[in-house]
Symmetry: D2
Subunit: 345 residues, 4 copies
Amino acid sequence: MSGRNFRSDNEAGVAPEILAALARANEGTAHSYGADAITKRLQERFCEVFETRVDVLTLVTGTAANSLAVAQISPPYGAVYCHTDAHINTDECGAPEFYSGGAKLVGLGGAHARIDIDELARTLNHAGYLGDHECKPAALSLSQATERGTVYSRDELAALTRVARAHGLRVHMDGARFANALVHLGCTPAELTWKAGIDVLSFGATKNGAMMAEALLVFDPALAHELGRRRKRAGQLLSKMRFVSAQLEAYLEGGLWLRFARHANALAQALAEGVEGIPGAELVHPVQANEVFLRLAPALASGLRDAGFEFYRSPRTEDCYRFVTAFDTPMSAVESLLQALRAPT
Amino acid sequence: MSGRNFRSDNEAGVAPEILAALARANEGTAHSYGADAITKRLQERFCEVFETRVDVLTLVTGTAANSLAVAQISPPYGAVYCHTDAHINTDECGAPEFYSGGAKLVGLGGAHARIDIDELARTLNHAGYLGDHECKPAALSLSQATERGTVYSRDELAALTRVARAHGLRVHMDGARFANALVHLGCTPAELTWKAGIDVLSFGATKNGAMMAEALLVFDPALAHELGRRRKRAGQLLSKMRFVSAQLEAYLEGGLWLRFARHANALAQALAEGVEGIPGAELVHPVQANEVFLRLAPALASGLRDAGFEFYRSPRTEDCYRFVTAFDTPMSAVESLLQALRAPT
Amino acid sequence: MSGRNFRSDNEAGVAPEILAALARANEGTAHSYGADAITKRLQERFCEVFETRVDVLTLVTGTAANSLAVAQISPPYGAVYCHTDAHINTDECGAPEFYSGGAKLVGLGGAHARIDIDELARTLNHAGYLGDHECKPAALSLSQATERGTVYSRDELAALTRVARAHGLRVHMDGARFANALVHLGCTPAELTWKAGIDVLSFGATKNGAMMAEALLVFDPALAHELGRRRKRAGQLLSKMRFVSAQLEAYLEGGLWLRFARHANALAQALAEGVEGIPGAELVHPVQANEVFLRLAPALASGLRDAGFEFYRSPRTEDCYRFVTAFDTPMSAVESLLQALRAPT
Amino acid sequence: MSGRNFRSDNEAGVAPEILAALARANEGTAHSYGADAITKRLQERFCEVFETRVDVLTLVTGTAANSLAVAQISPPYGAVYCHTDAHINTDECGAPEFYSGGAKLVGLGGAHARIDIDELARTLNHAGYLGDHECKPAALSLSQATERGTVYSRDELAALTRVARAHGLRVHMDGARFANALVHLGCTPAELTWKAGIDVLSFGATKNGAMMAEALLVFDPALAHELGRRRKRAGQLLSKMRFVSAQLEAYLEGGLWLRFARHANALAQALAEGVEGIPGAELVHPVQANEVFLRLAPALASGLRDAGFEFYRSPRTEDCYRFVTAFDTPMSAVESLLQALRAPT
């Protein structure tokens, strides 16, 4: 990651460990469409990492993972509850609706992009009153970490999934930044997922050092039914799948993924702490993963831009900006950024 | 490609030139979702190669390319004519139907997987009689090379697209093995596509040495309308797109793609020629690309298997087998295969 | 039915018994969306007529009945086998594909629009070879009577459904002209459906004297799951449903439906018999319901038209014409038609 | 309408004038699928009533009309803005999403179920920032009268459609109770629709005295493109269409529809006025059409129920109840209801 680019962790490159795995995977021929040895090994590897039997579907985009998940846990006439600001609701151009054949995403509120549990409970209590006139409450989708760089605690997660299950809902976790949430909480993958009531996980790796590698993990075998055909007809079954699986294998190997996430989180933390006390700069959300949202005085924002820093403005708030750290962002980049904020030209 | 694997060109690995391009593309950060420099260059490169302005959509599977194409050229209530044995009709688990929202694929006959032009004309002449009760004739989809390793001549192509256009149809070409057809015919990419009446091309690279890289090329700008949103909601917009584009750039560089295709075709040709006169082995289709279909006596087939050769049996014909050569199949592999056929143990 | 109109039984009007039922149903207010007393009674009535517990979904078009059936018995990635000339394949503008979210209709051949059982068996034996690349064999759809006015015998039906069930398929019957088939065979509704392996029946009434009334009958309760929501989101849940149910109740009352079908069949039979020996006129299909397909010499066809007779030309065959008799076609109409054929002007 | 049923105007029966029209339409045979003389006359009649050329699609449910409208004005990847409480958003089980192939309904707030114009403007100003990641702003859908019995003034309508058009949106009006809104405002059908910027209107008749008759009116011919095929594949093309058209013809004849709406509105007004000053009863929304929403003390509500009155409780508010008057509700029913409220037992 170059020294001034805080636009997104998906503007970073690929970790050398993962590039090397691609080269290694290139030896000889291999069965196509996921019938290769690496993909088979990966399935076992995920079972170990998550301490349970898990069905693994290798993919190349988080949108595909999320949308396949929604299609598996909701019928076309179902309602899927998520935060209003969830990626599946705002950033995927209707992919979950497309994959599911028209399921309805119902947006819920909640501070810092975390779903308000009371609103969820209230909504579910009212649902069903209209019978066939209403979409069937089918699923809850949670983002961990959220779109605003916050993280649900294990207790919060358990409470949310308890409400969902009491109403017969299935639960999906969008883990595009799952590793970042995991190291923030310091718990095990199992504790953060199936032990907390999660049925399906979109496991992201691309934002954390992979080239193009995501996985859909299904903890309830019933929900894996015909997932392969859904993947195929979505155009997501890669012929040379070994090159996706190899990325994920390297990603998990020796805790690489956790090391990368710890690094990115630490830098975001450093940025958040450094911002304190800087006039005209203010944190908008708690910093719990690798994203920092700042409200900046106009002069500060334009000063950063003039100094060559790259970052996003939030879509709906004029003076709010997002800074993302990646697995390979150097600490010096954060220091330069703080320096530029402290001493605007 | 290992010495005994003739199962499919997608069981081959990745060309070193393309692996090297991935490593090169990994320098520094880059804009995501296709806004990077490599993807921009690639757009220009395709315009040069095809000698016209062309909209390029980088993708990672042929199924996605074909299905996006169908969705752009047919409304949900449209009919898309293709060969009964076309990949989009038999091997994509309904992906074109899914992407288009329910368009109807209408299978046509024709020897060696090439559409019979008389049947096309007759079918189109009858279409429309039932008005709103019938799907609207919308598009023709041609595979070049076909599913049986044959190639339409330029005249055949022109005749087919002329019939299609006379009935207001748009024309798609499934070019999963476009390079193989091109070098067989010895014409230019432009001659084989827009000059022959093709509106949209699925341009394949994965089967010919890439890792996961395909492109949808749109020759009529009107058909590119909102293609980006369709790609996104299909979960096909990769964040680190530069790593797809880099593969395609290397693939086109210095005619690498043509060189690879010539090699694979030559080997298939050698296999076809070598088979002549071998008792119990017989060519099923003309060999014009990199696939050889053989009818084999049972003893021959099992002898090959015992000797460690890998190949597919055709789904619907008991004694018909497919042998595919790849960009890196060694000539010695073909020689061993012929040797085994000539002197069965 | 006017004396010269043989175009279609859906050009006939409404039986007086059914009009009277509509007037009777108009007394007082009634719960909407099917929660009224008539709709409840109708459910019971169908159970009696079919001698089993059956879930009944009242509808107003056969296309909706067929398409809801397909959506219930096939997943979006499923394959539904039917005759190439089946109504769902040729005349519904892709409605089954739309309702099911993209299921693939696979057309099978067979004389007189009856599915060839060998072709069905062969097709199913080959299905599945391609795994996830192929649509999942899901259902068989049979038309009884067929699009060409023929009827499957009970043995033929049983044999077909046996093959289907052996491959795990569900079976749908398109009974737009169910009554006509029933009286032709002289068996009970139960014998022609669930006792013969049918899971879901599109029960038509509109073509046989109703105004707009069809029903989807589901014999396996598992297949009725959430059918109500599917109907609603298809826009097929009428608010004043009692006026659909009242038609069906009157239709079943005192065997009205069978009386009507017997009449229409008898006239078709009379027409078929009368045609024998007329030069230039020849039966194309056996006449087993209320449709007569004739191959006519050009002079005969134009003579009929000049004499004011109305009838359809078959879409794909130049000299083949369809004559349909309805519940109220007068015998004199058939006599005039025969007269005109015998003594062309 | 019986004397104590205020549940819904769709629990009322059919006006005698409309029943009579059905009987008249039953003379002789007629071309099917809308090619009959009555349907043709109806097209002309609507042009006169709306003082412009209008494409008319006869249908039998409002859900079908709304959903076909959405499918015509929004691509599958489009966003359709409507009030959070709009019927299309809450009561149609995802039918608009289904028909459109996955368009996203975006709910907006606003008092009394009328869209807040500032929220609309703000939302549209922010839309598009995310490019292909976001659904394309495609259409605005307004309900007139609204789900809460309120009516947009002509100025409000014009202002809303002006904002929509400035952002390139098409505008749909859900007129399930169009007649009620029209007579409330005292303007012409043209003034309330195309002259106010409406592109497509769901014209309801069923709730106002018809049996099952709705129409989709398209004011911009471009938006009528292939509407017929969309109707067919939705299973909404009735074979004996003359019996739908006859209802609408009678409905328009001699201003019957306006007379009915005036009656229903007047009764709602009488109820609203009568409620003033009754302790424990309070209007929740302005009464501008034929629906009255009352907040009732528990004793009042249960008293009414005990006295045999029928009415709905609002789905999301415990103590809020809906009373609907119909074209044939007798004034005595309102008087009895007020009497029961004034002197609870």
